[in-house]
Structures are given as structure tokens and as C-alpha cells.
């Protein structure tokens, strides 16, 4: 990822900062400029630290940066404050993951730009 874009997305990737529409109350994650209701007025809202798995899939043939991690799972997690987040679920075997299981968001390396580029960090989830 180019450094400027990575830098721009730090609030959502590092701190799970979402945007709550001041008109209809919809929480957008990642944050967006315009809500489905047409409103452009958002206030900051943080995705809570815990959530549960709504659905998931297991990746066995991965893109190059993730090849050493297979098999790994990616889930849609609903946070305790109702925000849906697509995230990798780590530190477990795919067979340990079940719909409805509780997870916690953690801070992890997403990938590195080869041996000399920047290290990109962000959120992932672990089973609790």
C-alpha cells in the first residue's frame, strides 16, 4: 500500500474509528463521506473492543503477502456496539471458529512491503 494512503487510514485501522450519521444514526465503518440517507454530517464513534462472529470463510490459497499464513480465516464480526467489520481471525485453527463465537479486536501487523518497505499495522480479531 502506498505510504500516504496507509497514513490516511490510520484512524480506522489503528483505533477502529467509525463515523455515525447525525441524521439517521447509521454507523459507517470504514468511515465514509456520504451516508445512505444522503447526509454528509458524521460524528466520531469507536467500534467496541469485543464482538461476535456473524459469518466467516477460510482461505487456503492466499495472495502472495499472506501465503505463509494459510489456512487462515476471514470473518464478518459484529461489534458489541453493532458495527460490522470484515477482519482476519488469528491465533486459532479454522476448525476452532464458529458462528456466534465471541472475539476481541487486537492490533497486529497486516503485511510488510518486502524486506525494506514500511510495516503496515491494523486490526484483526482473536477468539476469547
Amino acid at each position: 500500500m502506498p505510504s500516504p494512503r496507509y497514513h490516511r487510514e490510520m484512524p480506522q485501522r489503528y483505533r477502529l474509528e467509525a463515523g455515525k450519521c447525525n441524521t439517521c444514526g447509521h454507523v459507517a465503518f470504514p468511515p465514509r463521506m456520504v451516508c445512505n440517507c444522503g447526509c454528509r454530517d458524521f460524528k466520531d464513534e469507536r467500534v467496541s473492543d469485543f464482538g461476535k462472529i456473524l459469518t466467516f470463510t477460510t482461505i487456503r490459497v492466499a495472495p502472495k503477502d499472506f501465503e505463509t499464513q494459510v489456512p487462515y480465516s476471514v470473518a464478518i464480526v459484529e461489534s458489541d456496539n453493532g458495527v460490522r467489520v470484515t477482519t482476519q481471525v488469528v491465533d486459532c485453527r479454522p476448525e476452532d471458529i464458529k458462528i456466534g463465537k465471541k472475539v476481541k479486536f487486537v492490533f497486529r501487523k497486516m503485511y510488510t512491503e518486502g524486506h525494506t518497505g514500511i510495516i503496515c499495522y491494523g486490526y484483526k480479531a482473536v477468539l476469547v
Binding site: 499464513q69 488469528v90 492490533f107 497486529r108 501487523k109 510495516i119 499495522y121
Partner: protein
């Protein structure tokens, strides 16, 4: 009153047993277990490094401190495995915790005592009324060369401590440092694994400096070993801290809560700080704790803490060290461990 407002630790879930490493290199596992008093060690996941460990430990410290992160005026990360040679770990940590931009940040390095260096400076800034709170972290994904004795112990983890003058859980009463130029363990710029002086790391290095700092702080404070309920000494293996504790007049019961090395390994800059964190997990108000680190090169920082009544309010607000050590463990074989630690040569 200056002291710790919030404390927290983080240990990875992955483990490798001493037996698995011994089998790989044709070593006698029983002899290693008996000689070093080690059973297993933590291993960082492929997506963990000193920065991610620091963030998770600091988040636990913030849960216990119950303060607004923007009131933290300094973030110091001590480690000998900072992911970048040039670019601070602390900036990523502070950004992730929501502390930027009005904050002073520095990375520290002094082999295994970089964490207590950070604590020493954070404490001093609070004492000098420079800021409301200061965050000090000791964390590492320790390196040990394949087949070297260090490979049995070098592990991953860290602890974070928020210093302040309000909402104290442990008051810091005394500090003392003891430092000389001693070439017992080093890693040159660009070298992947550290080198050490074998037995030279014992008497002239570890024991000389911990005894120097331990005796120094007891003399300075006018306290004796029996005044302390607990003591923590840097844990390069299981044996050294027990031996040095005995020399200073401490018994095994005083060391037991913080003596986590048999299951954790040596988390370098996170070693004695995490032993201290595990001790705070069980300490009662009014109890006294002695913490003495050791960093090769070489030096020791010593601290005397007195636990306050607030400890009972905060200890359950974050995961305790023993729970992290004894639950959710995922064991690796040596091949998986070698992949996780980047010891296998891969194509780009």
C-alpha cells in the same frame, strides 16, 4: 505521591517446549530443564512484533488506569527488537492508543533493561511535574541463534506502566541504578542474532550488577529483604533469579509470583517488568515490592514500590499474567517455530 496508575501485560498465545528445541539440536532436554529451570517459552505469531505487543500491553494498562489517553505526555518503548532500525516504535504505539500529537516519544535500547529504563525516565518526568501521566513499556520479540543456549529462553511479550501522581496503585519510593561497561552480550548493527560471552554472562555481568543494584537500593532506602513481601529479578533463565535472590536474602516465596520464566521464557526488555506485573496481579495493599532489572552491556535498575488500596479496584479490569501464561496456549513444532521466527530462507 508518584507511582503507577495503571499496569498491563501482553503475552502471545503460541508456545514451544524446551523438549522440542532440544530434540532439534540433539541436546538432552532433561539437562536443559534441570539446568536452566525452563519448560516452555512464548513465541510471537507471524503478525506480532514489539510494536503490536506494546500496544496490547498498553491497552491493558489503560483499562486499569481508567484515564483519558490524551493526558499522557510521554510514551517510551524499551526493546532490543524494535521493528525498524530508523523509525520509532513509540510513534505507532502512541497513534494506536490515541495519544498523539501532544506527546514526547522515544525508543530505548539497553539489552534486557530497556523497559526499566523507560520506567525510570517516565517516573522522573512525573516527579519533576513535567506532565500528568507518562507511559513506559518494555517489550521484545527476543532473538536467539538456532542451536545456541539462548534459543531455549528467548521469547516474546511485554508490559506497560502508566506513571502519575493521582489514582496510584503502587507508589514508587526509591530508585537506584548500577552500571559499568561489560561486554557480556551484544548484537552488532545488521547482525540477525546476538552473541554472548558464555559463562562470562554470569558472575561479572548478571550477578555483579543485580547484586550491586540490589545492595545499593537496600542501603539507600534503609530497608532489608524481610521488609519486602515480593521481589523480582531479571529472568534470563529460571536459575539465575533464584540464586541472586538468595544472595540478597530473599526466599523462594518472595520470588514465586514474579518468577514466571519457566513458562514464559526470557522476554528480554519485557522480562522483569512482566514479573512485576504478575506480582501486582496478586499483591495486597501495603505490601512492598523490589524490582531489579539487568541489561547486558551492562547495568541494573532497582525500584522499591509500595502497593496502595486502589490495586483491589483495578486488577480485574484486564487479563492477568498467569491467565495469559496458562490458558489459550497453542504449541508449535520446531518447523512451525522456524517459520514463525523467520529462520527459513524464502524467495522474495
Amino acid at each position: 505521591m508518584v507511582g503507577i496508575v495503571g499496569y498491563g501485560s501482553y503475552l502471545p498465545r503460541f508456545r514451544i517446549k524446551v523438549d522440542e528445541i532440544a530434540k532439534q539440536w540433539g541436546r538432552d532436554a532433561d539437562a536443559v530443564r534441570r539446568g536452566l529451570l525452563l519448560k516452555e517459552k512464548t513465541v510471537p505469531a507471524q503478525d506480532e512484533d514489539t510494536i503490536t505487543i506494546s500496544v496490547e500491553a498498553a491497552r491493558n494498562a489503560l483499562r486499569r488506569a481508567d484515564i483519558n489517553p490524551v493526558d499522557i505526555g510521554a510514551v517510551y518503548v524499551g526493546s532490543e527488537s524494535h521493528p525498524y532500525a530508523v523509525k520509532p516504535s513509540g510513534t505507532v504505539v502512541a497513534e494506536a492508543l490515541g495519544i498523539v500529537p501532544e506527546v514526547h516519544i522515544a525508543d530505548y535500547e539497553f539489552a534486557c533493561k530497556a523497559g526499566t529504563e523507560a520506567m525510570f525516565v517516565a517516573y522522573s518526568l512525573i516527579k519533576a511535574d513535567q506532565m500528568k501521566y507518562a507511559l513506559a513499556i518494555g517489550a521484545d520479540t527476543s532473538q536467539g541463534a538456532p542451536g545456541d543456549a539462548l534459543e531455549f529462553s528467548a521469547s516474546a511479550g511485554g508490559s506497560a506502566f502508566i506513571f502519575g501522581k493521582e489514582k496510584i496503585v503502587a507508589e514508587l519510593l526509591h530508585t537506584y541504578s548500577y552500571t559499568t561497561d561489560t561486554p557480556d552480550f551484544w548484537r552488532r548493527e545488521g547482525a540477525f542474532y546476538p552473541l554472548h560471552g558464555g559463562r562470562f554472562t554470569g558472575q561479572p555481568a548478571y550477578f555483579k550488577h543485580i547484586l550491586g543494584a540490589g545492595q545499593g537500593i537496600l542501603k539507600k532506602s534503609g530497608l532489608k529483604a524481610s521488609d519486602f513481601t515480593y521481589a523480582i529479578f531479571h529472568m534470563p533463565n529460571g536459575k539465575f533469579p533464584l540464586t541472586v535472590g538468595k544472595k540478597l536474602g530473599f526466599n523462594k516465596e518472595q520470588l514465586e509470583p514474579g518468577w514466571i520464566v519457566p513458562l514464559m521464557g526470557n522476554t528480554y526488555s519485557g522480562s522483569s517488568p512482566t514479573g512485576f506485573s504478575a506480582t501486582l496481579d496478586v499483591a495486597k495493599p501495603g505490601e512492598m515490592i523490589l524490582l531489579v532489572s539487568f541489561g547486558s552491556g551492562a547495568g541494573s535498575d532497582a525500584f522499591v514500590f509500595k502497593v496502595t488500596e486502589r490495586i483491589d479496584e483495578v486488577r480485574d479490569k484486564a487479563e492477568k499474567v498467569r491467565d495469559m501464561l496458562e490458558t489459550n496456549r497453542i504449541y508449535l513444532d520446531y518447523g512451525q517455530y522456524a517459520k514463525f521466527r523467520g529462520k527459513i530462507i524464502m524467495n522474495d
